[in-house]
């Protein structure tokens, strides 16, 4: 799929051969995946803007320890913010509380504004930290990682097959779409357009089911009897342990201070 990702919008530089790994990329992916999850849970439970900002700064700091292309990462963040902006703008006006200012007769409350800003910062902190911690991790490596983290094997294998065939099917889609374009097709708001897209997707489904049948046949031809191999080279070294402990402490302290702060007032 990294081909697709490269095709679409490359998230990180994924050269074949031996790419130079960044500082973050040099740790065991298991630690990185768990850390990203932990960070997300902790940040979501922060209540104070100050500490949420702290988490956000932490995430920005981490970005500089990776080889994420800055411009692209920013574009992604902007896309996500565009997603939630409407909700954030509405919040101050719909939350009851101390009025602060009013627009067209609608009162904006201080509490509402506070809540909106908090949500904005938390969302950005989580996504940014996740993108940096998991930078350079291929979907395949993610699968291996989840497998070693004891996710159900069926789910991991399902994910591996999905990852394997996304690029094949995306190419197929692309070729069909080009052929449509070559016959003067232009996407408009017409029934003809929607019917054509329906046919396109239906055909894609039919073709992929036939492919699935062929894949299963090929597997049987190689003696498949209900077992998938998983061969990876994940290694847990002392420095991974150090990172895990340090990260855990940092995030816990952040949350504890957040709570103490509430308590103190």
């Amino acid at each position: 799929m990294s081909h697709l990702f490269g095709h679409d919008q490359p998230l990180s530089v994924q050269g074949s051969g031996s790419p130079a790994v960044s500082f973050v990329g040099s740790f065991d992916p298991r630690v990185r995946v768990v850390a990203a999850g932990l960070f997300a849970i902790m940040v979501v439970s922060l209540h104070q803007i100050e500490f949420a900002l702290g988490a956000f700064v932490l995430a920005i700091g981490t970005v500089f320890l990776t080889d994420l292309p800055l411009r692209l990462t920013l574009k992604r963040m902007a896309a996500m913010d565009g997603f939630i902006i409407v909700m954030l703008v509405m919040l101050p006006f719909t939350t009851p509380g101390t009025p602060m200012f009013s627009v067209f007769g609608a009162d904006a409350s201080q509490e509402g504004l506070h809540h909106a800003i908090l949500i904005g910062i938390r969302a950005n902190a989580v996504v940014l930290m996740m993108l940096s911690l998991l930078s350079g991790l291929t979907p395949v490596a993610l699968g291996h990682t989840l497998y070693r983290l004891r996710c159900p094997a069926a789910l991991v294998h399902l994910m591996m097959f999905t990852v394997r065939y996304i690029s094949v099917l995306h190419d197929e889609y692309h070729r069909l779409r080009m052929a449509m374009k070559l016959r003067g097709f232009k996407a408009r708001n017409t029934i003809h357009t929607y019917r054509s897209f329906g046919y396109l997707f239906g055909m894609l489904l039919v073709r992929s089911l036939e492919r699935a049948e062929r894949v299963l046949e090929a597997m049987k031809c190689r003696g498949f009897s209900g077992h998938f191999p998983m061969i990876d080279q994940l290694m847990f070294r002392p420095r991974d342990g150090v990172l895990a402990v340090a990260f855990f402490l940092l995030v816990t302290i952040l949350v504890l201070m957040d709570r103490v702060y509430v308590f103190a007032y």
Binding site: M1, F5, A36, A40, I41, V43, V44, S45, A79, M80, F83, I84, V86, M87, M90, L91, T94, P96, H115, I119, R122, A123, A125, V126, V127, M130, P139, P152, A154, L155, L158, F161, T162, V163, R164, Y165, I166, L169, H170, Y173, A187, I191, Y194, R195, F197, G198, Y199, F201, G202, M203, L204, L205, V206, S208, L209, E210, A212, E213, V215, G226
Partner: protein, 224 residues
Amino acid sequence: MHIVDGALAPEVLIGGGVLAVAGLGLGLRKLPIDKIPATGVLSATFFVASLIHVPVGPSSVHLIMSGLAGLVLGWTAFPALFVGLLLQAIFFGFGGLTVLGVNTVNIAFPAVIAGFVFRSMVSRRNPVAAAVWGGLAGASSIALTTLFVAVSLMLSGDAFAPAAKLVFFAHIPIMIVEGLISAAAVYLIVKVKPELLMPEDHVAGFELSASAVNTKQASEVNNG
């Protein structure tokens, strides 16, 4: 349609997570090991659907096609759609990690429900009737999804109520478009490869009858 990290109340996040794990468990139980390749390839197809943009009014949206996923995959739509959301969350930064459970429930449950409700009607042989029901399945699964999204927002605080309403009404054109596209897709599938929309046991029966035909034919050959 994705909710982002940091907006929902912790109770909603946890509730969503628990429901998602339950759904995943059920879905995986219905997934024998030799169905994994087929489910994976179809899951990839639905992932590709989310990369297809169609025009709606002056703007454009990407397809979801969860109704069709429910029709084709049944309960296994749950893990299949989860995998897609997981990959999107991690590699595209869409949605987030803590809301993964909520997002999965919001998209996969409507798919499974639409699949159950409409499957028997869609697996009829008449392509036009099947297309109408398929369209309804597509539209209603999006409608349910937006409803679920609205509910998860409302549960996180009354202040979200207007936003929730806005989400619902803003998605009405998308429901219609998804319905039309699903209808056309079902029409094509019923014409080209109706097995794709057969309920499980029907497929087994289909294969059985096929082999019965084969043996019958073979014995005729022997007789003649």
